[in-house]
């Protein structure tokens, strides 16, 4: 790894215990042809984890944590996931309470349906995916503030209101009795939308941690540290299998 990478031990960010805890953790990054895996894999290496690119269900067998990235529209993404035989394995993974991080479209796929194209998605978080409301420009491209609804270990070392990088037009809208509980952060672009969710070990961020400089790498390091701790801190009692 290049010595110039930010956010690692002794780097410009200073101490980073999260990265040390997750060192060597095997993170499967799902490749279903919907996004830029180079930077996510590189970001994971930069914080000491071991990324593998998962093109099918078998790659999940040896993984400690799972990341579903992705950009673009939901329906084609779900079709590609289905074609790769990954829909049921991803649902099972999440149901077992294993460490999961959805990034951008990967977060949106956690919801039930999308207004964009009517796609039926993973449905593990109640709610739909809608256009960012009252947005002066769309897509929402650039750095915007992520305001935390509550403290969470995914954001250790990152203050509420930090600037992180977004590229999207749609965002998840949690619904039902637990909507507030799963909402971890919000961001405003015209209207306000949910920019991070957390439900036990199931985490999702609408911004791109792999493109968000030092703070973005911290998010990845925090995710990996949570996974290394075995159960993704914040799992409701009895909810997770704590499998690692």
């Amino acid at each position: 790894m290049s010595a110039s990478v930010v956010g690692t031990d002794g780097g410009p960010t200073g101490q980073d215990p999260a990265g040390a805890r997750g060192r060597g953790l095997r993170v499967a990054v799902v490749d279903y042809g919907a996004g830029n895996l180079v930077s996510i894999a590189q970001g994971l290496r930069a914080i000491g984890a071991e990324p593998t690119i998962a093109t099918g269900a078998r790659a999940l067998d040896t993984a400690d944590a799972l990341i579903v990235p992705g950009v673009g529209a939901a329906a084609p993404a779900m079709r590609r996931l289905a074609k790769a035989g990954l829909v049921a394995p991803i649902r099972d993974w999440i149901a077992a309470g294993r460490p999961f991080l959805g990034i951008c479209l990967g977060l949106q796929l956690l919801f039930e349906t999308s207004d964009e194209d009517g796609a039926e998605m993973l449905g593990v978080v109640p709610g739909r995916v809608s256009l960012v409301p009252e947005a002066p420009t769309l897509p929402h491209i650039g750095w915007n503030q992520v305001e935390l609804s509550r403290p969470h270990p995914l954001f250790t070392g990152i203050p509420s209101g930090a600037d992180l990088y977004f590229v999207h037009s749609y965002a998840g809208v949690p619904s039902g009795a637990r909507a507030e509980d799963v909402t971890l952060a919000r961001t405003t672009h015209g209207g306000t939308f949910v920019s991070a969710v957390a439900d036990g070990a199931t985490l999702g961020v609408q911004f791109h941690p792999e493109r968000s400089g030092t703070d973005g790498l911290r998010v990845l390091a925090n995710f990996v540290a949570l996974a290394a701790d075995g159960d993704g801190a914040g799992v409701p009692v009895g909810a997770g299998a704590g499998a690692v």
Binding site: Q42, P139, G142, N144, V167, R211, T214
Partner: protein, 262 residues
């Protein structure tokens, strides 16, 4: 609130950053990945690579540059220059780019914009518009292609509206009148386009100092401002420009006191 972005642009030929008056008198200005990293450290919100290699083998070199940069700098990358097909578009994304900019090929075949937007999402599709003010009392701006050499007959504001309808998620608007002149961005051109489209617009061409960046946003309505030589030649740093924009009351991303916001 969404920050206004400052974007250094690197013209790349055969794996090196070059700067000349567009395509002539090219001067080697360094390794693209190294320069990109320096800019990222300095607060660049995004990096644009513009491939100006004439030869096909330049493309492979460019993809290598993109990957090397993505391995060192965790900021967004946009790549433009010579992409003609969805397949080439995909190759650039797979190399590590977040967005791909289409220019000449979009004019030649506007369906390319739609096909790429459907396949990769409109957020990945930037259309670059090189515009020159019409002369002789005619209103509007001509769209030029092939690096500003060929007239298309298209008018820039109308073309901007059309490519957005076709699926462009962002526009990179370069004033060919101002490019390389250091006489400021063409804020009239920018204002004419930003009034008509609801996608983000990146201003390009003519930066001489921080005041020009402020004007591109305030008078032109630009969401992002791009420049090349003033950064390469260290006439102004990205940090200086952002400080001036903040001073003018524009929302920009500044490093936190406790962090090196790469």
């Amino acid at each position: 609130m969404l920050r206004r972005r400052v974007i250094p642009c690197l013209d790349v030929a055969n794996g090196r950053v070059v700067k000349g008056t567009r395509f002539v008198d090219l001067v080697d200005e360094g390794d693209p990945a190294e320069l990109a990293e320096r800019y990222a450290r300095d607060g660049a919100d995004e990096i644009v690579f513009l491939d100006i290699s004439a030869a096909p083998e330049g493309r492979a070199t460019l993809l290598d540059v993109v990957t090397r940069t993505a391995q060192r700098s965790f900021v967004p990358l946009t790549v433009g220059g010579g992409v003609r097909t969805p397949r080439e578009f995909r190759d650039v994304l797979r190399a590590g780019a977040d967005k791909v900019s289409l220019n000449t090929a979009a004019v030649a075949d506007p369906t390319l914009v739609t096909r790429c937007a459907q396949r990769f999402g409109r957020q990945a599709v930037v259309v670059a518009i090189d515009a020159r003010r019409r002369e002789g009392g005619t209103a509007g701006w001509d769209v030029l292609v092939r690096g500003g050499r060929d007239l298309t007959g298209l008018e820039a504001v109308a073309w901007a509206e059309r490519v957005v309808a076709l699926g462009a998620g962002e526009l990179l608007v370069t004033s060919m009148d101002r490019d390389g002149t250091r006489s400021g961005y063409d804020t009239e051109l920018l204002a004419a386009i930003t009034a008509r489209v609801d996608v983000p617009v990146i201003a390009s061409g003519g930066a001489s100092g921080p005041d020009d960046f402020v004007a591109a946003v305030r008078d032109g309505g630009a969401d992002a401002v791009l420049a090349a030589s003033i950064f390469h030649r260290r006439i102004h740093s990205v940090a200086d420009v952002k400080a001036a924009m903040a001073e003018a009351g524009l929302p920009v991303r500044l490093p936190r006191a406790d962090s090196n916001a790469a």
